[in-house]
Every structure is written in structure tokens, then in C-alpha cells.
Symmetry: C2
Subunit: 259 residues, 2 copies
């Protein structure tokens, strides 16, 4: 049985924070293990002698920190450690494409996860100002937009949207749902644009409601954003890929020369 202790009403720290502190300590010390259920609201109300809103505020705090997940009708559970996937900086190495695998598939398999892709949508649109600038296109020039959602072991972990200039994608499977072996990059190289380098811009923030829905995460779980631009051997940008990843599911690795 969990020793919940008591709160101190003369303490400056408000009761709901004290209750959150007590529960957080139990989680941090493993006395409440991942997947385990927290005491119910009713239990906490009785134990600490407070109103329902007070224990709900405490639990809300832990939810915001991403430590626990509430399941309507079942209870509140310590968030189970998700599979963390390390993305090495050589994940776009040509040898992977030569084996007919797209970057995500190759990397997921290498790390022992079952990869998946769904919600593939391909459209032809006018480039937004940001995309046009990165691809060095004139404003509103047309691009092929490919968006999809990636899964690991059946659970969504990342959404990605690629923008390829129409001039490059035209007449290739890039504008089809199925791009064939080696993915988009395979087809871009087939079209005569040998890839030379990528730039990646990484940041992190809280998800928008749409992103929460697509990634099936609650509020309080941050996402990493990664905007990758691919350049061919002539230094021409050939693709921009905008990805949103569940932050705690990824570690990105980069190699940086000292000069």
C-alpha cells in the first residue's frame, strides 16, 4: 500500500501542489511504476480531506508535465515509457536507398520497431511563401505536396509533409501515392538530381490541437519540429520536408566537424 502522507495546511505551498508533489515523488522513485494506476480521486479526497477540485488540480499538474495519463472511466495511470528511437545523422545515406528502403522504414527496422505509414495524401498546390523561399521558387509556383503519418509498432509517432517542385516531380511516381522502392529520394535521383546534402532545422513546442489529434497525444506532451531541405549536387534545393514528431519518442543524433 502506498504511503501518501499528509498535507500541511499552514504551509505556504497550496494543498493541490503538495498533493502533486507527493504523487510526483512516488512516480520518480518508482513506487508508482509505469502503467500503474494512481489512487482514484475519491480515495485522494478522503485521504487528504480536500474538495474534489483540489485533487483534480493536483492531477492536472501531473498531466501537464506528461507524467500521467487519464483514461475516462478507468483511472489515471503513470505514463509508460515509450519506445525511444535514435535517429543517426547517416539515416539518409545512399546505401539505404540502394536497398530500396525509405529512411523511416530502414531506421525503424534497424531499431527493432515495426514501421507503418498511413494517411497518405498527395496534392498539387501553390507554394506557401516559406516553402517557396526554401525551394527558391517564385511565389505561388506549384509544388507536389505529400503528407503522411508514420507509425511505430502501430502507434503514431510522426507526421511528415514533403514539398517537391512540380518541375522535378512531373511525370514521376512522386505525384502518385506509391513512390516505389527507395521512396521520394529514390525518384528524385532517378530524375537526374543526385542528392548532395541536407539541412535540418530543429525546434520544439507544444502541439496544436490538430497535431494532438493526428499523433494521438494529450495536451502537455511536446513535439519536435524538423524542417529538412534536400539539395542536389548543383546546390539546387529539390525537396522540403516538414515533420512533427512526438518529442519523447525521438533522440536526434548529429555529427558536426570542428571545421
Amino acid at each position: 500500500m502506498l504511503d501518501l502522507g499528509t498535507i500541511d495546511r499552514s504551509n505556504d505551498r497550496p494543498p493541490y501542489r503538495q498533493i502533486a508533489d507527493i504523487l510526483r515523488a512516488h512516480i520518480d522513485h518508482g513506487r508508482l511504476a509505469p502503467g500503474e494506476q494512481l489512487p482514484s480521486e475519491a480515495t485522494l479526497i478522503d485521504h487528504f480531506g480536500v474538495a474534489r477540485m483540489t485533487v483534480r488540480e493536483a492531477i492536472k499538474e501531473l498531466r501537464t508535465e506528461g507524467l500521467v495519463v487519464a483514461q475516462h472511466g478507468k483511472g489515471v495511470f503513470v505514463r509508460s515509457a515509450p519506445p525511444v528511437r535514435r535517429l543517426a545523422s547517416d539515416r539518409f545515406a545512399r546505401r539505404h536507398r540502394k536497398e530500396g528502403k525509405s529512411a523511416f522504414i530502414a531506421e525503424a527496422e534497424a531499431s527493432g520497431h515495426v514501421p507503418g505509414v498511413d494517411q497518405i495524401r498527395v496534392t498539387n498546390e501553390a507554394a506557401s511563401p516559406e516553402v517557396a523561399e526554401r525551394l527558391r521558387l517564385k511565389p505561388r509556383e506549384r509544388v507536389i505536396v505529400r503528407s503522411r503519418r508514420y507509425l511505430a509498432d502501430g502507434r503514431p509517432v510522426e507526421t511528415a509533409t514533403s514539398y517537391i517542385p512540380e518541375a522535378i516531380a512531373k511525370g514521376t511516381p512522386i505525384a502518385e501515392v506509391n513512390t516505389g522502392p527507395g521512396g521520394i529520394y529514390g525518384r528524385i535521383e532517378d530524375a537526374g538530381h543526385e542528392l548532395a546534402r541536407f539541412t535540418e532545422e530543429v525546434s520544439a513546442r507544444m502541439p496544436t490541437p490538430d497535431e494532438r489529434k493526428a499523433l494521438e497525444i494529450g495536451a502537455g506532451i511536446p513535439v519536435m519540429t524538423l524542417v529538412r531541405t534536400a539539395y542536389d549536387t548543383n546546390g539546387v534545393p529539390v525537396e522540403v520536408c516538414d515533420t512533427v514528431k512526438i518529442a519523447h519518442s525521438f533522440v536526434l543524433e548529429y555529427d558536426v566537424p570542428a571545421q
Copy 2:
């Protein structure tokens, strides 16, 4: 005057979410500009005809998303866009050190911010298992630990903790508070370890209470973590640096060769 519209009680979406949606839309469309004050709780209660907890839930949602900041006694304000700083992948280029600048100072000045460092602490400790592994030390071998907090325009943006093997740091200013021109890396090179490359591991998560305090951020603001390992020309790891950055204040840029 802001047109707040009304909520629809027959809608499936609960009132507090509808109110949050309305306010979020005003923020997204710039009708509530950064720094601007939201209508007070009392105003929203009157306008929508709901209880106080309902408007507080709505505002709580926006706070969790990091869109607004509450100031006790003053009001709730749209979060002003923080100075975003782009960290280019050449930020550790030797030429910067030659100019006598540490990476943070050089980069901050280049992006037009007033850099600052405080809370410098230097200790001599036994290496933790993680640090020992990265530095290829025997368990509990001793390392110099340098922790500090970086400021931009007077506001904390990042904490950093460096671990340098005692064997390298001994008898150098690395073990002093003042490391001299070019920072730690300047001294490591002085000691005969020419730097060849770095690896960086990037992830993101919600801050711990300690980190919230050090970075002066509220709950609901995510942090990026960056663990950098520096290697000399012999492939020997000479430093591990563990940094925690306010996520929305940074964009990290990396250059990745296609092979």
C-alpha cells in the same frame, strides 16, 4: 472591440473548449496581438454566461499550450514572441575561438543579442555512469564539472553543464571559474587536444521543477535537451556538455551530407 461570439450549448464540444477555441482563433489571427491583454475572467463570465471555473478551464488550456501567460493581479496576456536564436552547425568553428570568443558569446552577438553568463559553479566529482560511458572513463573516475546559466538580453535561455576528464583539465584554467579567451575549448586545445568533431544528441521534453526555476519559465513551456560530446583528432572524447534550452527560444541548424 473584440467580437467574442457565443458558445453553443447543444454542441458536443464542451463550453470551456469552445471558449478556448474562440480566444485561440483571435490570437492566431492577430486580433489579439502579442503582449495584449485578454478580456478578464469577469468579462468572459458575463459575456458567455458561464461559471468562473469554466472560463478558467479555457484559459488554462491556452496557458498549457504556451499561448498566453497569466500575471497575478494584472491579467492574462498573449505571450510575446521571444527572441528566437538560430544556432548554425558551424557555431563551434575554430575561427570563432581564434577570436577569443566562446561559442555562446559569439553566436549571441552575431544574432544581435546581449549575451550573459551567471551561476557558474565548478566542482570535481566522480563521473556518473552516463558521463563515464560517453567519455570512455572507468566508473567513478573523476571529472571537472562546470555548470552555468546563459542569458540573452538579461533573460535566462539555457543551462549548461560540462564534464571534462580530470586528466585533461588538471593544472589548466578549466578548473577555475575563469577559463580565459575562447572558453573551455580554447583550453582543451592548449592542452594538446586539437578538436576534430562533435556529436550532438537532441531531444525535447517538459521541464522538471528545478529547470523551470533556473530558466524562469512556467509549467507548459517545453525544453530542448542537447548533449554534445567533443572528440579530438585521435578520436578521444574530451568533453561532454549537457544543455537544457527553452525550446521556443532556439532553432538548431544542422548540415548533413547525403553520403
